[in-house]
Amino acid sequence: MLFFRSEEHIDHWCTTWRMPRGAVLTLETCWRLAQAWFGAPRSAPEWRRRTVEETRAVFAELGLVGEFWELP
């Protein structure tokens, strides 16, 4: 997950490196994703990985829907 200064720079990078254009998040959405994903300290004994369903719920809560965000 890389950082870009603008949509045009994403397009240029994808063209240069022949990579498909994937999902673009604003920094605000990326921050909210980071909070949801890492807000609970992984040093806590009770911490565990989210289930697939819990992960789907996190994505949906943030509006990250569609084929790109589907999980196996």
Binding site: F4, W13, L27, L71
Partner: protein, 144 residues
């Protein structure tokens, strides 16, 4: 060897020191054999908790922390860390529940950018691009 204890120590040391520790350092804290810690690292890697280095049984990634330099430098709580990606860079701030400065650059043109987290809000310009669809992330998590 309790893998939860190993995970706890790894993350406590990463949060305190800025980087995932070596197996021998975890062994010292737990008063355990280094081989037992390495075995635990491998189990935790199989569970996708850590990512190990390709040719050594040491942690490469304990998300959001990277054990090696990356283009995502995070200053938070008096500690400097490398994050694995922009999501993880913000993740370090989220995990520490404090203010942070993220120094990175545009992956296309290299222009330096600073992103701040202040009072639980992100401040800065730019975008995060996820190239790989979610279902494929763990096919090659380092590339992802």
């Amino acid at each position: 060897m309790d893998d939860r204890e190993v995970r706890r120590v790894v993350y406590e040391m990463a949060m305190r020191g800025g980087s995932p520790p070596l197996a021998r350092d975890v062994a010292r804290v737990l008063t355990a054999a280094e081989d037992d810690v390495v075995d635990s690292f491998r189990r935790l890697a199989e569970a996708h908790i850590f990512v190990l280095q390709k040719d050594a049984p040491e942690i490469l990634m304990a998300a959001p922390y990277s054990a090696v330099p990356t283009p995502f430098v995070v200053h938070a709580g008096g500690v400097t860390s490398y994050a694995n990606c922009i999501w993880d860079a913000l993740g370090i701030a989220a995990m520490l529940h404090g203010n942070a400065h993220v120094h990175t650059s545009c992956a296309d043109c290299g222009t330096a950018y600073e992103i701040r987290v202040a009072n639980e809000k992100v401040v800065g310009e730019g975008l995060a691009h996820f190239s790989i669809p979610a279902r494929q992330w763990w096919n090659d998590i380092v590339f992802t």
